[in-house]
């Protein structure tokens, strides 16, 4: 049994990967392959980070709606990550892998095949990312009463969806897990749809739109007031994104519009002098993340985040409610949107009894928080006890092969 554990937080958007023994910074790179127009070979995983040109990159991702579906593509990305980024031999190490709750049997099978048959890991443990994030949070803030019981409510606003996961004694309470089918990908596509309709057609530029979203979007804490001030011609919420032209800049940048044109504020402006293309954004900046708090805006028949937390509490024993509410942890890339925590607190406060204290915490690193917790778990003896060994898989896997043969 080797001590080396590869900790891999396999998210819909990015892979967070590292080895527990070395205290080197882990690496974060896109979980997908990107194809640049006109080039034959797609860029795999971390190669995309080195690629400065964000436009005309089309991405293929192995993860669909949060679950691994394309194991061939994932194998390419992992192979590069293990060999070139981490420089480890899977045959002599174990794997700690995150997996979304309630994975379908078919997805679990694909993952197990990939881990044991394709890469040949010694042993593997699959855990929901939320419990790992909670573990890191416990270490960060031991002062919080609920953390001493390893208890808290994790809001994982990821790329594919948003989960509300109550955690007690370092284990997720499955009866309380709630999912909203809105994640960063949907928000990006929604922003893309809006700006393509209102100003410049960006439908081909998903990868670039993701960067624009990260820079421009914020969560409104007072929607009514923000909408009111956005109506003004010189609204302080207006921003323009200078699109990459491939000569002066390859990524583009955000700026506050200098001189508002006399015409409608919504028109894309082409400056005669510099001939730069700018994308004008106004209320899109906060109406896009808004759908996470009110999915009805998009026609999705699901509760907003604050209500989903209340629904999650209904699935948990009442005596845990005060502990869970006092320790709400926000993780995931979408939670990094400015104003997220304040808005959630403002929405949630009126929905729960005023006897309960509501505490919302945001780690410094909402994206890699789960990975950090994973490294903690991998270092503890609990990992070795809980992990499934390749031997166990081979026995079980053989049984599975037999059932398939019988079906034939």
């Amino acid at each position: 049994m080797s001590d080396r554990v590869v900790v891999l937080d396999n998210g819909g958007s990015t892979c967070k990967v590292g080895v527990n023994l070395k205290h080197q910074p882990h690496s974060v790179f896109p979980n997908g392959t990107g194809k640049i127009k006109g080039e034959r070979q797609p860029l795999v995983g971390d190669q995309l980070l080195a690629c400065g040109d964000l436009s005309t990159v089309s991405i293929r991702r192995p993860i669909d709606r949060g679950y691994l579906v394309n194991s061939e593509l994932e194998r390419e990305i992992w192979a590069r990550a293990f060999r070139s980024v981490l420089k480890v031999d899977p045959n002599s190490s174990s794997l700690l892998l995150t997996e979304a709750p309630f994975a379908l049997p078919a997805v679990e099978e694909l993952t197990a095949q990939l881990v044991f048959e394709d890469f040949g890991f010694h042993s593997c443990l699959r855990v929901p990312a939320a419990t790992l994030a909670q573990k890191a949070h416990c270490q960060d803030q031991p002062g919080i009463a609920a953390n001493r019981a390893a208890c808290g409510l994790v809001v994982d606003a990821g790329f594919s969806f948003t989960h509300v996961v109550p955690v007690f004694d370092a284990h997720a309470i499955s009866s309380g897990i709630k999912r909203i089918n809105i994640g960063g990908k949907l928000l990006t596509n929604y922003l893309k749809e809006l700006v393509s309709y209102r100003s410049i057609n960006m439908m081909e530029e998903t990868y670039l739109m993701e960067h624009i979203k990260e820079q421009a979007c914020f969560v409104s804490t007072d929607l009514r007031a923000d909408l009111h001030i956005s109506r003004a011609r010189q609204s302080p919420n207006r921003r323009e994104y200078v699109l990459p032209d491939g000569v002066n800049s390859t990524t583009g940048f955000l700026r506050i519009p200098a001189d508002p044109l006399p015409g409608s504020s919504r028109q894309p402006t082409v400056h005669e002098k510099s001939s730069e293309q700018v994308l004008m954004m106004n209320n899109e900046r906060f109406l896009v993340p808004e759908v996470l708090f009110s999915p009805g805006d998009l026609g999705l028949q699901q509760a907003g985040l604050a209500e989903a937390i209340v629904q999650a509490l209904e699935g948990v024993h009442e005596s845990l409610h005060p502990l869970l509410l006092s320790n709400i942890l926000l993780t995931g890339g979408s939670a990094a949107c400015p104003g997220f925590a304040q808005r959630l607190l403002a929405d949630l406060r009126p929905l729960v009894s005023d006897e309960y204290e509501v505490g919302v915490y945001m780690p410094d690193d909402p994206i890699t928080c789960a990975h950090r917790g994973g490294a903690l778990l991998a270092a503890s003896p609990a990992f070795g006890q809980a992990a499934m060994t390749r031997q166990a898989y081979e026995e079980e896997g053989a049984a599975r092969m037999q059932t398939i043969a019988n079906d034939d």
Binding site: K35, K37, G38, R40, S58, I59, R60, R61, P62, D64, R65, Y67, V69, N70, S71, E72, L73, F102, A103, L104, P105, A106, V164, S174, S175, I177, K178, R179, N181, K185, L186, N189, Y190, L194, Y197, R198, M203, T206, L227, S230, R231, R266, E284, L287, S294, P295, G296, D297, L298, G299, L300, Q301, Q302, A303, G304, E307, A308, Q311, M401, I404
Partner: protein, 173 residues
């Protein structure tokens, strides 16, 4: 006899026009809304998918799963003789290519899960107790009006004009 009378009185032009600009009913509106949500979950839109194909060699295939684009080299092997029984799991996977999550979800038949079982389906957040808010489908601000034809929200005559010219379901469906 009595049922046929009104249609005799109406001119054919009236009938044609009313069919063309007819209301989009509730089911169709719902269908359009869910199609849009699906589109928002897509990795790449149709244009990009086509661009991807034209870069590689273009191949026609009888199956219509979008996820298979770019896997042409491997499919050709298995696709030549569709009637042949495949023996190994490896070949099977190679032939079919990756499945979309919705396909896997259908195949898992979670509706038949045991009573105590919590599943992917039960974990979805239930619908909100509050009514949906109304935003203008054109400019995004609070909307007061509704398009009678397709039910989209609009805030002003100006936005409604833009809506009828570009987005009204009459044209998109």
């Amino acid at each position: 006899m009595s049922g046929a009378r009104p249609s005799k009185r109406r001119s054919t032009r009236d009938k044609k026009t009313s069919q063309r600009v007819g209301l989009v009913d509730k089911a169709e509106r719902q269908q359009a809304a869910s199609a849009r949500l699906d589109r928002l979950e897509d990795d790449q839109d149709a244009g990009e998918a086509l661009g991807h194909l034209s870069d590689d060699e273009f191949r026609l295939d009888d199956s219509d799963e979008g996820a298979q684009i770019g896997e042409g080299r491997k499919r050709k092997k298995g696709g030549k003789r569709p009637g042949v029984k495949r023996k190994t799991r490896g070949q099977l996977a190679e032939h079919r290519g990756p499945k979309a999550f919705s396909t896997l979800l259908d195949e898992a038949e979670l509706e038949d899960a045991p009573e105590d079982g919590l599943s992917y389906l039960t974990a979805a957040a239930a619908s909100s107790v509050y009514p949906a808010r109304k935003w203008c489908s054109v400019c995004g601000f609070a909307a007061t009006y509704k398009c009678v034809r397709c039910g989209s929200q609009c805030c002003s005559r100006k936005c409604f004009g833009t809506h009828t010219e570009t987005r009204c379901l009459k044209f998109t469906m």
